[in-house]
Every structure is written in structure tokens, then in C-alpha cells.
């Protein structure tokens, strides 16, 4: 059997978070894809940001798919966060159907910062405005479930209020990942104010 590239993507947006290639396996249904995902990551995907420690995303929020990326293999491998699954019709990440990928390059992140002192939200600045209507975006913050938010209408940012019960220690670094379907995934390791 030939080798094939498999992508692990964020289920809400289809953005690639990791890839792995090995001998091609037959995935025909969601159960096959789920079994493969469990083999590859277990119960959670660990993303190493910062010198020690990892950001964890539950396996229920990511999916494994076979990626037909013969033309883009090198580009995908050299810039995993810059690609997303091309989902059409009833396609869903992890449904067992083969996928193709496309660059997520409509916009990109220019800055990520904490607002407030102590911090009450995370602000993600974008290169361009996303338009008059807020669009779905996600922040995976260390120790929390992915936070769903929206881009600010007619502004170049997206703001994610933090759970008031979450107490950030001033001067400590925190890991986070900004995910939006048409924007490259952006990781940050920020010192809390």
C-alpha cells in the first residue's frame, strides 16, 4: 500500500493542527476515522508551546482525515497551520471521506495580547477587517475548553473574554491558539499582566 498523509484538524473550522503520513489505510466511515485518531493522539492532542508544558485539546474537538495533498504535500508539511480542509456539501472533519486542503489565507493575525490588569480578555488583532458582521473564531486557552467568539464587526480584531473564575497569575506565561477557518492558526505564549 502507498503512503498517505493524514491531517488532524479542529472540527469546528477544519483548520489543520497536525499531520502524519504512513501506509494508506481504508477509512470509509466516521468510526474508522475515530479509531485512527485515537491511535494517533489518544484522548487529547498535545501542542507544545513554550519551553515546558503543552496546550491540550480534547480528542472530541479534533478529527483525523486522509488528505489528498499530492500537489501541495511540501507546502502543507512546511506550513501545517496555514492550511484547512476544503469542506463542501455535507463533508465534515472526521467523517471518513478523503479530503483535500486549501490555504487559509484570507487574513492573518498580527498580534495577540491580554487586555486588562489583571487580564479579563484576550484580543487577537488581524491584518484586515472581517466586515460588518462578526465571524466565528476560536481561542484555545491553556486549561480551558476552546472558547468560541466572533470577530468584531468593522474592526480588525476578535476579543475573547476570559472566564471570570479563571485567575491568571501576573508575570506567568500562558499558551493559546487562535483558530479561524480562513486564517492561519496562530500560537502565542504570553506573559499575563
Amino acid at each position: 500500500m502507498p503512503s498517505a498523509l493524514y491531517g488532524i484538524s479542529f472540527t469546528d473550522t477544519g483548520n489543520l493542527l497536525a499531520v502524519c503520513s504512513f501506509e494508506k489505510q481504508t477509512l470509509t466511515k466516521k468510526e474508522d476515522a475515530d479509531a485512527l485518531l485515537k491511535k494517533l493522539i489518544g484522548d487529547k492532542l498535545q501542542i507544545a508551546i513554550g519551553d515546558v508544558g503543552v496546550l491540550e485539546i480534547s480528542a472530541t474537538r479534533v478529527a483525523a482525515d486522509l488528505i489528498d495533498a499530492k500537489q501541495d504535500f511540501e507546502r502543507v508539511v512546511s506550513n501545517v497551520y496555514g492550511y484547512r480542509l476544503k469542506l463542501g456539501g455535507n463533508d465534515k472533519p472526521g467523517d471518513g471521506n478523503d479530503k483535500v486542503v486549501e490555504p487559509a489565507k484570507s487574513n492573518f493575525v498580527t498580534n495577540i495580547k491580554f487586555n486588562g490588569s489583571p487580564a479579563t480578555e484576550v484580543q487577537v488583532d488581524l491584518k484586515e477587517q472581517e466586515g460588518p458582521f462578526g465571524k466565528d473564531a476560536f481561542l484555545v486557552f491553556e486549561g480551558l475548553d476552546p472558547i468560541k467568539g466572533k470577530t468584531t464587526p468593522n474592526a480588525k480584531d476578535a476579543k475573547f473574554p476570559l472566564d471570570p473564575t479563571l485567575v491568571l497569575k501576573s508575570g506567568e506565561f500562558y499558551r493559546m491558539l487562535f483558530i479561524k477557518d480562513d486564517v492561519p492558526v496562530s500560537a502565542a505564549f504570553l506573559k499575563a499582566p
Binding site: L17, E23, Q46, V77, N79, V109, N111, I112, A187, K191
Partner: protein, 382 residues
């Protein structure tokens, strides 16, 4: 087969009594020929006593007196050949049977069943007559030419259809070999094998051998130091072992090969040829945080049990400088691989990190992010 029966008041004739004897004999020889393989059953060894010539005119020469030890054999007709007392082998008889013996050559020694008519005992009140009313199931010792034993040993048992069968000169049982000293006309030595030919011992014809008590043993000799194959079942634990090894008398078998009920094998020697271990491989690219895939056909359980060993090699995939968020701000950063490892005997999760640093402030402005590497994993084992 006719079985004689007798009625009250019946006058028994010799034929009636002979029919009874014949019935018993046929039962015995058919049993020997159909359920056993012919050969030496017990004893019949060629025992030696060291001697020296005593002719004062010549230097003494060593020789041996040979005695056929008591024992029992069964020939291809199913006849029993019984020796109850040792029988000395006569060198003169040897020279009578072997016209021109050669020194140092092994001559086969056979025992052969013969029937000798004997006169019955007289009874009180009966006339003293000399009627041959007994048959002695006797034997004679025969010497053969070198190699003659091969054709004798190859003979099959007489089929049942031939009844008692017709005895022939070749119906004999090999008991050993002698060497003869033609100068002093004495036996020089004895042997139990010649080249690849050995004495044929009785066997069993069986498609199923069942032990009554959970222990089934095969021995290479009846007693003494010997080898054994033993199947021993433990009814309490439900376990079972198949052992091969030496056994002294009825002591325990000292196994050099053991197979247990699960098929586990232990051995003391070496395997020739040594079993080839299978090697399977997988390779590709892999992101940080992903578990290294096992090669196809490799069972995860066998890896966990240690039956299959894994070997892995990782190589970071080079990256070009690019804009990266450092301290939250987008900066053109350069990559430096800081970590690219996997605990292949542990969780198998790849740890590959790249430090993206600001070339203007490399020690203060940087961020460590997940990287990607190529991998090769080998699985070896059975």
C-alpha cells in the same frame, strides 16, 4: 477361527485338545504380529568375560567368552523365543557356520525359533510307550555373514492370511555382532551396532496411546540412565508440560526442552538454524504531539508485552524564516530546532519543537512552537 467347545460326557480326542492349543497359539501370534513389531523384547544381550590364552609357548592373547543372556524375542511369525538361562556362544560353531572368517569384521548373531519334538512323560497304569507328545519351542543361535542382518531386519511381519506362516531360514532375530580372532579361534569382542544398523527391538502398533494417570512417558531404555519424553498434566492447576531430557532410573526427568500448555518453549541448547525475526518498517512525516504509527501487521499488544521491539529515528524538517508571533507581536523569526525526540518504548509521542527567535534579540525574543519531523520506525520480533 474355530474355537473348541466341550460338552459333558464328551470323549476328548487328541484333535480336540490340539485344537484348543492351536486356538490359543493363534491368538498369541496374531496379537504379536498385528499389535506389535517383532524384535528383541528383553535381555538377549551378548555378555562377555575377558580371557587370555594360556599356551606357554606363545605370548598371551586377549579374547572374550560370549554368553547370550536370558531374555525374550519375538520373530516375524509372532513366535516367542525364550532364553531362560545364559547360553555360551561356541567358537567352533562359529567357524562351522562362517567358513572363512576375517579378523576385525563384525558378524551378526541371530536367535532363531525352532521346534523340537519331545517324548511325553509316561503315566501310572499306562503302557510305557515312546510317543512324541510334546513340542519344545526351542531356539538355535546362528551366525551370519557381514551385512546379512540388513535383509533380516527389513522383513515385515507375516500377514494374518498366512495363519501360523511357514518358517524359513531368514526368520531370525538379531541380538548383536561378534568379531573373531582367526589366529586363536576365539571371539575378540562384541558389538550392539554395526555402522548404521542396530538391534531391532519390539514395538507397538498404535494410533492412540493413553495414559491413565495424566503422565505419559517414553523411554529410550527400560532402566538406568536413559532419555525420556514425558507429557505431564497437573489436574489441580490444569497445566501441562512436554519435557525431553535425561532421566536416571525413575528419578525426575532433567529437561533440556520444555513446552508448556500455552506453547511456551524453553530449551537449554541452541536453535539451528536460528529463527529469523521479522522486521517491519513504517516511515513518513509527523507533527509534534502525534504518536508514532506502528508498521502494518504489528500488534500493539505484542509491543506492550515486549515480544516486538521498536526502533525509531527522527529527523527535523527544515524550516525557512517566517513571521511568527513573539510576545504577541508578529516578527520575522529564524528557526532553531530545540527538541526532536520520541520515547519509542514508552508513549511513542513525538516531541519536536522549534524555537523561533528574533535574530536581533535571539536570547530574549523567541517562542517555542510545535515542529514537524520525518520518522522511520522499525519493528523487530516474532
Amino acid at each position: 477361527m474355530l474355537r473348541p467347545t466341550f460338552k459333558e460326557g464328551q470323549i476328548l480326542g487328541a484333535a480336540d485338545l490340539n485344537a484348543q492349543v492351536e486356538y490359543e497359539r493363534k491368538g498369541s501370534v496374531f496379537h504379536e504380529r498385528t499389535e506389535h513389531l517383532w524384535g528383541v523384547a528383553q535381555g538377549l544381550t551378548l555378555d562377555t568375560t575377558q580371557q587370555k590364552t594360556t599356551d606357554p609357548t606363545k605370548p598371551p592373547t586377549k579374547y572374550v567368552d560370549v554368553t547370550l543372556a536370558p531374555g525374550r524375542a519375538v520373530d516375524r511369525l509372532g513366535r516367542s523365543i525364550l532364553v531362560t538361562e545364559g547360553i555360551p556362544l561356541d567358537p567352533d560353531m562359529f567357524t562351522q557356520q562362517i567358513a572363512s572368517p576375517t579378523d576385525g569384521v563384525l558378524y551378526p548373531v541371530f536367535v532363531q525359533a525352532i521346534e523340537v519334538a519331545r517324548t511325553g512323560e509316561t503315566q501310572p497304569g499306562k503302557c510305557s510307550v515312546s510317543l512324541e507328545t510334546r513340542v519344545e519351542e526351542s531356539l538355535q543361535i546362528a551366525f551370519g555373514s557381514p551385512g546379512e542382518e540388513i535383509t533380516v531386519l527389513d522383513q515385515a511381519a507375516v500377514p494374518v492370511s498366512e495363519g501360523f506362516g511357514t518358517p524359513a531360514l531368514s526368520d531370525k532375530v538379531l541380538v548383536g555382532w561378534v568379531k573373531f580372532n582367526t589366529t586363536i579361534k576365539k571371539f575378540d569382542s562384541v558389538a550392539t551396532e554395526s555402522s548404521t544398523t542396530r538391534i531391532r527391538y519390539v514395538g507397538v502398533v498404535a494410533s492412540d496411546v493413553v495414559a491413565g494417570g495424566g503422565v505419559l512417558t517414553l523411554h529410550t531404555r527400560p532402566e538406568g540412565a536413559r532419555f525420556a519424553v514425558a507429557i505431564t498434566e497437573n489436574s489441580l492447576t490444569g497445566k501441562c508440560t512436554l519435557e525431553f531430557g535425561k532421566q536416571d532410573g525413575n528419578g525426575p526427568v532433567v529437561p533440556v526442552l520444555t513446552v508448556d500448555e500455552k506453547g511456551n518453549i524453553e530449551y537449554k541448547g541452541t536453535l539451528t538454524p536460528a529463527p529469523l525475526s521479522k522486521t517491519l518498517a513504517e516511515s513518513g512525516v509527523i507533527s509534534d504531539g502525534i504518536k508514532v504509527p506502528l508498521p502494518p501487521e504489528v500488534d500493539e499488544d505484542k509491543v506492550n508485552q515486549g515480544t516486538i521491539r521498536l526502533h525509531a529515528h527522527l529527523t527535523p524538517i527544515p524550516q525557512a524564516p517566517k513571521n511568527v508571533l513573539i510576545g504577541g507581536a508578529l516578527i520575522l523569526a529564524y528557526p532553531l530546532v530545540t527538541r526532536c525526540v520520541v520515547d519509542i518504548a514508552g508513549d511513542r509521542v513525538v516531541h519536536c519543537q522549534v524555537r523561533w527567535y528574533d535574530p536581533a534579540n535571539p536570547t530574549t525574543k523567541f517562542v517555542d512552537l510545535p515542529g514537524l519531523c520525518s520518522y522511520t520506525v522499525f519493528a523487530t520480533g516474532k
